[in-house]
Amino acid sequence: MGLQMLVNAILLGGLYALMGIGFSLQWGISGIINLSYGAMVMLGSYISLEIFNFFQIDPFISMIMSGAILFVIGAIIYRGLLQPFLKGGIVFTLILTYATRLIIENIILKVWSADYRTIRLSYVGSNFQFGNAYVPLIKFLAFLLAGVLVYLTYLFMMKTKTGKGIQAVALDKEGAQAVGIDVEKMYMINFAVGTALAGITGSLWATIYSFSPHLIGVIVGKVFIIAILGGLGNIWGAAAGGLLLGFAEVAGASFIGSEWQEAIGMVIMVSVLLWRPYGLMGKKFFA
């Protein structure tokens, strides 16, 4: 039983890791607590759903499309709605991202209804053995891709010019401005990367689980925890946070019962906030 639980935890945690990074980047670097994040994840799921229904293209491939679309949406929302009101402080950004959530949620409800949807892949159900544990193939693929994407995000931030620009702005806004970096553009791209990751996570999610607008609030709750555990803006921190949450949920479900899962997550988060407000990894960015 132990090994199976471990496998389940890692597979779930990997997906959570990818999911949490986008939110953590938005909060830690762009300074936006994005309450519409859950809606954006779901949007990614629905985009893959439509592409699958129309073109029979696997979500593992159409996730690129989700990412691209959500990137553009994120950029537009940041530039058009959030950036002009940053000076209003946290009250404004919370309420504006919440408004965005409401609008997106309403659109999803109208177009796809509140029913749970699934994407039935032909190879669903196949799994392989790892020791005496079963590893579902789809979950494993999702996990692999999530891992690759986490690493790609890291490379983007560390090796590309834009990524380094974002880092610079995160570390020292005035300094970055002084060397000619377009600070607002960096914030915007960072935010858009966050929404893109949300969309991609949604596509991956759709390969494994069913989805509906009901999950929107639940997802926001989870990414809060992951971001705080890992320290805002910290990619590997968020990854670790995601894995940790995966463990907590799987273990919690076995030992305490699945109804208490959400409570566990919240209690963990509040405890971390009280004990180490900068996250388990402390106040660092990216590494």
Binding site: I95, E105, N106, K110, W260, M269, L273, P277
Partner: protein
């Protein structure tokens, strides 16, 4: 604002007006007004923390839920309402002190998030502690054995009384030494510290006061509805609504929450019947519109217009 005596006179007139209003309204509108008063109370609590002190308790609805559930559980054990309400209020105050003391050391961002977490955790606990709370199915309260019209009026007056009490209390609190302490925290917390203000004490006490009034509103609501469920009383939308009310009325002003509650609730009544399928999107768009057009709230917008008129009048005179 105006002369002090004029203010008191106007206040009496306004209260008298509202007390006698139900005679001229249908039961439906009496209930709408009762809801408005209730939201005004919760918003005053939110306003004290956020508008005056600069700490946004996004999860403040948890005190509404605590008030509702303590009342429900207490009455199910046979305790009378007048005894249960103080109990509910004290429970809320206890929570705010226990949770607030460690959390209010953190910066504003973290406090807001922590309260969301607490609210969510409390919701989960209530949903699962089925023996005590009735679980996700909800719980009932004793029904008052009187005609519906009488019952509506009873709760109308109770909520009105609560709203007036809350508003007056916070009004005098803000003008007191304690109020200056709170406002200094928002203005510049580090400076406040070095001026001899015990900021942690002020923050926790302010939250306790906010919890007090919010929980009583929750208790009244529970008794009024006779039936409550965890999703309903711990709903994050309560917090969102009160924040929007606070913004549109004008954060940091004493009448703001009341005016905001009127505007939002009346709009919701209209919008609900017209836009049922799109009510989420409509609310979302309305929030955006408020932020764009009246970010400082309606009261500030009106006083700004009046100030400009005063200036232009003066200009004319001097010419």
């Amino acid at each position: 604002m105006l002369n002090k005596k004029v203010n008191i006179f106007l206040l009496f007139i306004a209260i008298a007006l509202f007390v006698f209003l139900p005679r001229f309204l249908t039961g439906y509108w009496v209930r709408v007004l009762t809801t408005i008063f209730m939201y005004a109370v919760i918003s005053q609590g939110m306003n004290l923390m956020s508008g005056y002190m600069g700490y946004l308790p996004f999860g403040n609805a948890m005190f509404f839920g605590i008030g509702a559930y303590v009342t429900a559980i207490g009455m199910s054990k046979g305790l009378p309402f007048v005894l249960v309400i103080p109990l509910a209020a004290m429970t809320a105050i206890l929570f705010s002190i226990l949770l607030g003391t460690p959390v209010l050391r953190l910066r504003g961002h973290y406090f807001a998030i922590a309260t969301i977490g607490m609210s969510g955790a409390l919701l989960s606990v209530v949903q699962n502690a089925t023996e005590i709370t009735g679980g996700a199915m909800g719980t009932t309260l004793p029904i008052i054995d009187k005609a519906p019209g009488v019952v509506y009026n009873y709760f109308y007056l109770a909520m009105l009384g609560l709203m007036v009490t809350t508003t007056l209390s916070i009004h005098f609190l803000v003008k007191s030494k304690f109020g200056f302490g709170i406002r200094s925290i928002k203005a510049n917390e580090e400076a406040a510290d070095s001026m001899g203000i015990n900021t942690t004490f002020h923050k926790v006490t302010a939250w306790a006061i906010s919890a007090f009034f919010t929980s009583i509103a929750g208790g009244l609501y529970a008794y009024w509805m006779s039936f409550i469920g965890p999703d309903e009383v711990f709903d994050v939308m309560i917090a969102v609504n009160t924040i929007v009310i606070m913004l549109i009325g004008g954060a940091g002003s004493i009448l703001g929450p009341i005016i905001g509650a009127f505007i939002i609730e009346l709009f919701a009544e209209v919008a609900w019947s017209a836009f049922l399928e799109y009510h989420l999107a409509v609310l979302g768009i309305m929030i955006v519109a408020i932020v764009i057009f009246v970010p400082k709230g309606v009261i500030s917008a009106i006083t700004d217009v009046l100030k400009r008129k005063k200036i232009s009048v003066r200009k004319k005179v001097t010419l």
